[in-house]
């Protein structure tokens, strides 16, 4: 009786519910391609076969299927029912293995739901078996791995107890990847890639050098985090790639400190940020102010005086903010106020 009920359990209903066979409709049974442990799995498990006339699980019953006789054995209940809550999971899944629904005591459903229904359950669910799972890498399992590896590790230096100290003493980070696979060869061509990361603030660069370096490296510099990333893989060995990346860093540093002759031809389009001095804006502002002064018959006002005046400084800051930071409501209103003061407009 219990066995029968158990088998009915697997027939698409929630696990753990015991149902009397009387409640079962043939339709329910026909929907469930139960995966029996033995026997009938070898034959097709087309649901229609185990349909209405299908065998209710009878221990040791004999069924005629085609010309051969078949013994139908009842299926044992899944292992999940006998699992304790505080069991050692890393012994259930010690290594990477496929998903076994009878070994995983979780009510997982996966797949596209039937219309008006729910996703299919885990029993016989090919989707769950196909995907990779990390049931073998639970935190307790990882702890055990770490404990096993501890004997091979050296201690972390106690003086480096914060991120800032690490950055201060070791500004350059080298990243390499080792690959392990089951196969005849331990070599992997991807293992030669070396990534070097360094923050530009830890390098000794002045304004010109920093701008030149950023222009030289191009895409490899991230503005938000101020990190330069150099990835090298052109040499066949990891050590060679590491040497090359260090060489690149050295060359970049020294080259950015040098000033070539042609750098004086840097034009407005090349500038990284807006510079107000010698710009159209400055010219326009000065011209306007000079005309205003001329109309008021105030002469001998020099450009330097005008540039040093408060209104012009205010205007300069607002234009720089507008150009560098883009246009926001506050920027535009600040610009408006500064222009009103500059041109002496009263409402």
């Amino acid at each position: 009786m219990a066995a029968r009920a158990g088998r009915c359990c697997r027939a698409g209903l929630s696990c753990g519910a015991l149902l009397s066979p009387a409640l079962l409709s043939p339709a329910v049974l026909s929907r469930a391609p139960a995966t029996p442990r033995w026997g009938r799995a070898a034959f097709s498990s087309a649901p229609a076969v185990s349909g209405r006339e299908g065998p209710q699980a009878r221990e040791g019953s004999v069924r005629r299927r085609g010309r051969t006789l078949q013994f139908v054995r009842s299926a044992a209940p899944p292992r999940t029912e006998r699992m304790a809550v505080d069991q050692d999971w890393s012994s259930v899944y010690p290594t990477a293995a496929a998903f076994k629904p009878a070994s995983v005591p979780l009510p997982i459903r996966m797949g596209y739901p039937v219309k008006g229904g729910v996703p299919p359950p885990k029993e016989g669910n090919l989707e769950l078996i196909k995907i990779p799972n990390f049931l073998h890498l639970t935190p307790p399992a990882i702890k055990k791995h770490c404990a096993a590896l501890k004997d091979f590790c050296t201690e972390w230096p106690s003086a480096l107890d914060s991120d800032e100290k690490c950055e201060q003493h070791f500004p350059i980070e080298i990243e390499t990847v080792d690959y392990v696979s089951s196969g005849t060869s331990i070599r992997n061509p991807k293992a030669r890639v070396v990534t070097l990361r360094v923050k530009l603030s830890s390098l000794n660069l002045d304004d010109h050098a920093k701008k030149k370096l950023i222009k030289l490296v191009g895409e490899r510099y991230c503005q938000e985090t101020d990190v330069l990333t150099i990835t090298t893989d052109r040499c066949p060995l990891r050590r060679q790639n590491y040497d090359y990346s260090m060489h690149l860093l050295t060359v970049l540093y020294h080259e950015s400190w040098k000033t070539e002759k042609w750098e004086s031809e840097k034009s407005e389009e090349d500038m990284e940020e807006y510079v107000w001095e010698n710009s159209h804006s400055q010219k326009n502002a000065l011209d306007t102010l000079l005309r205003i002064k001329a109309s008021e018959n105030v002469s001998n006002v020099t450009k330097e005086e005008l540039l040093a005046s408060e209104v012009v400084k205010n205007y300069r800051n607002s234009v720089i903010a507008l150009k560098n930071e883009g246009e926001t409501e506050s920027n535009i209103s600040q610009y408006k106020e500064s222009v009103k003061k500059l041109l002496n407009i009263q409402a």
Binding site: H280, A285, R291, K323
Partner: protein, 403 residues
């Protein structure tokens, strides 16, 4: 509702619009409208004028701000540039028109370019300029503009005299000291030289404005067209830069602040602009680097959507004019036995749908077949009396021109 829409035109005459009038609509008499605005009013507003047989302009904060600046400006200083900007359909052109109306009431000379975008696209004829071989003339656009300019500024054209002798081609010339009207008529008569006539006109006005005999208002709608790109092509299919067009070149010179005795009020416009994304509305986005550098330093004037007070005012106006009808309001139920539509605000999309019910009576059943969306605060342009054919479809008995 009543006092909101009372005829405040006398206040406009005395230029006494102040903050207390914010949200109210003032009337412009129709004869004055055609005199001051031969061109330049937005299309929707023109249709509204036709429908209601009156021109009501709402007094809004940006316009009041601009008027305050203009009133307080020093005309011996170089002309200040004002740039009206805002998102689509918020009322930039109407603000400009309000300012133009104010200035013309005050007796200024108004140089109103209704849409600078029209000068950089869809130009059928491009002639090589006789004055400068590298530039291109646009006779049609120039002559249309000259005609409208003449219609609005007759008085000034008679009074202002030329200061130089101008040769039009080999034989014709305009002597020094002749009224500017002759220059304009020369441009209208000889369409080939219309662009040069415009250039001469602008030059003369610029040079003479500082004397103080007249005040000059340069009003340009869609000023970002002057520094953008154009879709025009020369005969060898190479693209035309805007500065190669005579009209654009001369207008750019006009917008510099090297003259005094007036003001320059401009509008940025994305609708009608070329190669600009539809979400662009801020000055730098639309003007570009070149335009910004040319207009800098300018006073940017933002125009927002309707505030709640303005919204109520506009809604009340349409109710009063019986454009929008309310079930509970003064209904039209009576005579024809029609059921009245109880409508929330229609956006123009739904209004166009309703327009399709052309000659049928719009019964309650029909109205219910449209799910009319309820509306949060909308801007001026979602009130399109023109697009909503409500009046014609609901009440064919309503005369189009109300008395």
């Amino acid at each position: 509702v009543q006092d909101r829409h009372s005829d405040n035109s006398h206040l406009a005459l005395q230029a006494k619009h102040t903050e207390q009038h914010e949200g109210r609509l003032y009337n412009i008499p129709l004869e004055e409208l055609s005199a001051v605005f031969p061109h330049g009013l937005p299309h929707r507003f023109q249709q509204q004028v036709l429908t209601f047989n009156e021109a009501r302009v709402m007094v809004r904060k940006p316009a009041l701000e601009l008027l305050a600046y203009l009133k307080g400006s020093n005309f011996s200083h170089p002309a200040v540039r004002y740039v009206i900007y805002g998102e689509r359909g918020t009322g930039k052109t109407m603000t400009l028109c309000h300012v133009v109306h104010y200035c013309s009431r005050q007796g200024w000379l108004v140089l109103h370019i209704p849409d600078a975008h029209l000068w950089v696209k869809n130009c059928k004829e491009l002639l090589q300029s006789s004055y400068n071989k590298d530039r291109l003339d646009q006779p049609l656009q120039a002559s249309v503009w000259l005609k409208n300019f003449k219609a609005s500024n007759e008085r000034f054209l008679q009074e202002i005299k030329t200061q130089k002798k101008y040769m039009w081609g080999k034989r014709e010339c305009t002597e020094e000291g002749r009224p500017l009207r002759e220059v304009v008529e020369q441009g209208l008569a000889r369409v080939r030289s219309a662009s040069d006539a415009v250039g001469v006109l602008l030059r003369e006005l610029k040079q003479q404005s500082h004397r103080g005999s007249f005040r000059l208002l340069v009003a340009v709608d869609g000023v970002n067209a002057l520094w953008g790109r154009s879709t025009l092509r020369k005969e060898d299919k190479s693209p035309v830069c805007p500065e190669e067009l005579t009209l654009v070149h001369n207008l750019r010179k006009m917008l510099m602040n090297d003259w005094s005795g007036g003001a320059i009020v401009t509008t940025l416009s994305q609708t009608g602009s070329l190669f600009k994304p539809s979400s662009a509305y801020t000055p730098q986005e639309l003007l570009g680097k070149e335009g910004f550098d040319a207009l800098d330093p300018f006073v940017p004037i933002p125009v927002p959507n309707y505030s709640p007070k303005e919204f109520e005012s506009c809604y009340g106006y349409y109710l009063e004019r019986r454009w929008l009808q309310h079930e509970k309001g003064q209904g039209w139920g009576g005579k024809r036995g029609m059921r009245v539509l109880g409508l929330e605000l229609v956006s123009s999309k739904w209004a166009k749908k309703l327009d399709k019910l052309n000659t049928d009576f719009c019964t309650h059943r029909d109205a219910q077949s449209f799910a009319v969306p309820s509306v949060s605060l909308q801007g001026p342009r979602t009130f399109p009396p023109c697009a909503s054919g409500l009046i014609s479809s609901v009440c064919p008995c309503t005369p189009r021109v109300s008395t």
